[in-house]
Amino acid sequence: MALSREEVDKVSLLGRLLLTDEELDKMTSQLGAILHYMELLSEVDTAEVEPMAHALDTANVFRHDRVEPSLDRSDALATAPHRDEECYLVPAVLGD
């Protein structure tokens, strides 16, 4: 299936990217070529095959419900580009 420039633009919003016109053109043609190659998979009969999301069969790994020391708030906040004493700061969105 051919990929349109509009679709690529829409995906860039979903992926939280912002592409220039030039990037949009390049991305459309490169992704188109890659997706065209992926069509190879359509020749594989997978009607009776269970999907495999993971190489391990393990399920439900539990731990004891014990309170243990965790990262200090100030340490966690220390890596943020904008913060105050207790919170991450982001541009205001209320009222939009």
Binding site: V11, G15, M27, L40, L41, P51, T58, A80, P81
Partner: protein, 511 residues
């Protein structure tokens, strides 16, 4: 002789016998870095002072007769994808330029506990996405065998620094070949352990169901030494497996008797360089001379591995990389410029009376995310986020992601069947020796197809190792790829060691 002339195992033995000190060894490797890393550019950061201080500490501990860790006094270089507490961890990305993690990755903690000397962080493709290390936001690492060529990737810095004797041991990560392929192209030994063998806690996530940490070294014996420290269960990684870690460094010397090697006809098809094929076939003859039997085994779905991988890995990546939003850590776009741009666009749309476009205009938060990510990520990372987001989006999920997960199972079943007949599968690790820098950078699909021999190991979750097995007529290293069933790291290491006992390829050094 200089410390650079010894393997890690030999250096440890010399340290034990009191013939050298960690300070002497560490200084020698730091000197080698000073002399050669200006050209090779394997390191993003060298921790000279910290390394020398640590070496002196360990020497003092040894002198006092205190118990020592298993890598006591040995310098180790670490790919910059592993979190080091309070020290820069960039993943070779602009978006993490100023990131200093508040914790150590489990493998870093294990290396410290083993008394290793951490000498620096190595270059890589941004977020480990790539096979040439050209996707680093900071610098291009060069192949020590030919500075005009790529070292492979994404652990190109780790492979190049071991090849150039700038570190006796290095740690890499492998999501689709990122340890084994650069090891092959740089003429060193590199292993991807079974998924779950090594903790991923503190390994910056690319594709969580495929990522695995592993050793890069000169020899299989050295890789065994390092793996023994890295491996093991970690309660902080629910996908790490709780089973005992074998004594790899002891068992590595035991040759495999009655070894059955499988050759996959699908590996020797179109696109394989003739010199690589000749070197690999010759390596298989070496195994035969050591008593191994060789038979053909088929992996009928191997031709679908690249397509399957390049759906699954970007899907997982697009989800994992959502965390780089300019809020929690790393880079954030200039908010004033961002707000001004948004205001300008709003005015233009109001003037034009374009109500639909006006309604669809980003709010300030969304635009902050988008600008931050547009400025912080490089082209390959953007491409994979786009690919993954598309493949997971409504209407395409079944056709791409779900389909790929089903083919993934068929690929795993191929391996399970093959390993009923053979102990190891041998083949080329890459279809050609290292290519020239810049040669494929504008052709992502050609870049992806270079991974055809390594991605299926990760999809299946099994282990693989690359060992040097020859040189091209241009003097470029060629790697032999061995794959084994899950949790048979011992078999891989023993198989690699017996080959290295019979050959000299791993001893060759670049000029």
């Amino acid at each position: 002789m200089s410390p650079l002339d010894f393997t890690a195992a030999e250096l440890l033995a010399r340290l034990d016998r009191g013939e050298t000190t960690s300070a002497e060894i560490t200084s020698a490797f730091l000197r080698q870095i000073e002399q050669h890393d200006g050209q090779v550019r394997a390191f993003l950061r060298v921790d000279r002072e910290a390394a020398l201080a640590r070496a002196a500490e360990i020497d003092a501990k040894r002198k006092r007769g205190e118990p020592l860790g298993r890598l006591a006094g040995l310098p180790v270089a670490v790919k910059d994808v592993l979190c080091t507490q309070g020290e820069p961890t960039t993943c070779a990305s602009r978006i993490l330029e100023n990131f200093r993690p508040p914790f150590d990755a489990t493998v870093i903690a294990k290396l410290r506990a083993a008394d290793a000397v951490l000498i620096g962080k190595t270059n890589m493709d941004e977020f480990a996405m790539g096979g040439s290390t050209e996707n680093s936001a900071y610098q291009i690492t060069r192949n020590p065998w030919d500075l005009a060529r790529i070292p492979g990737g994404s652990s190109g810095g780790s492979a190049a620094c071991v090849a150039a004797r700038m570190a006796p041991l290095a740690v890499g990560s492998d999501t689709g070949g990122s340890i084994r392929q650069p090891a092959g192209l740089c003429g060193v030994t590199g292993m991807k352990p079974t998924y779950g063998r090594v903790s991923r806690y503190g390994l910056v996530a690319f594709a969580s169901s495929l990522d695995q940490v592993g050793p890069v070294a000169q020899t299989a014996e050295d890789a065994a030494l390092l793996l023994e420290v890295l491996a093991g269960h970690d309660p902080r990684d629910s996908t790490s497996i709780d089973r005992p870690v074998p004594r790899y460094r002891e068992t590595v010397r035991q040759p495999l008797s009655g070894l059955r090697i499988g050759l996959v006809p699908e590996h020797f098809g179109e696109g394989l360089d003739a010199e690589v094929e000749a070197a690999v076939r010759e390596a298989v003859r070496v195994y035969e001379s050591l008593g191994a039997t060789v038979r053909e085994v088929s992996l009928p779905h191997s031709k679908y591995a690249v397509a399957t991988y390049y759906i699954i890995a970007p899907c997982e990546a697009s989800s994992n990389l959502a965390r780089y939003d300019g809020v929690h850590y790393g880079y954030r776009t200039d908010e004033r410029a961002m707000a001004a741009e948004l205001e300008q666009q709003r005015k233009e749309l109001q003037l034009a009376g374009d109500e639909a476009a006006l309604a669809a205009l980003d709010n300030a938060l969304i635009r902050m995310y988008r600008r931050t990510r547009a400025e912080g990520f490089g082209p390959e990372v953007k491409r994979r986020i786009m690919l993954g987001t598309y493949a997971l989006s409504a209407g395409y999920y079944d056709a791409y992601y779900l389909k790929a997960l089903k083919v993934r199972r068929l690929i795993r079943q191929d391996f399970d069947r093959a390993f009923e007949q053979v102990d190891l599968i041998a083949g080329p690790v890459a279809p050609a020796p290292a290519f020239k820098i810049g040669e494929r950078i504008d052709d992502p699909l050609a870049m992806y197809l270079f991974d055809l021999y390594t991605v299926s190991t990760n999809l299946a979750g099994i282990g693989g190792i690359s060992i040097p097995c020859g040189f091209s007529s241009q003097g470029l290293p060629i790697g032999l790829h061995l794959q084994a069933p899950p949790f048979e790291e011992e078999r891989l290491l023993r198989g690699a060691h017996m080959f290295q006992q019979a050959t000299e390829w791993h001893r060759a050094k670049p000029a």
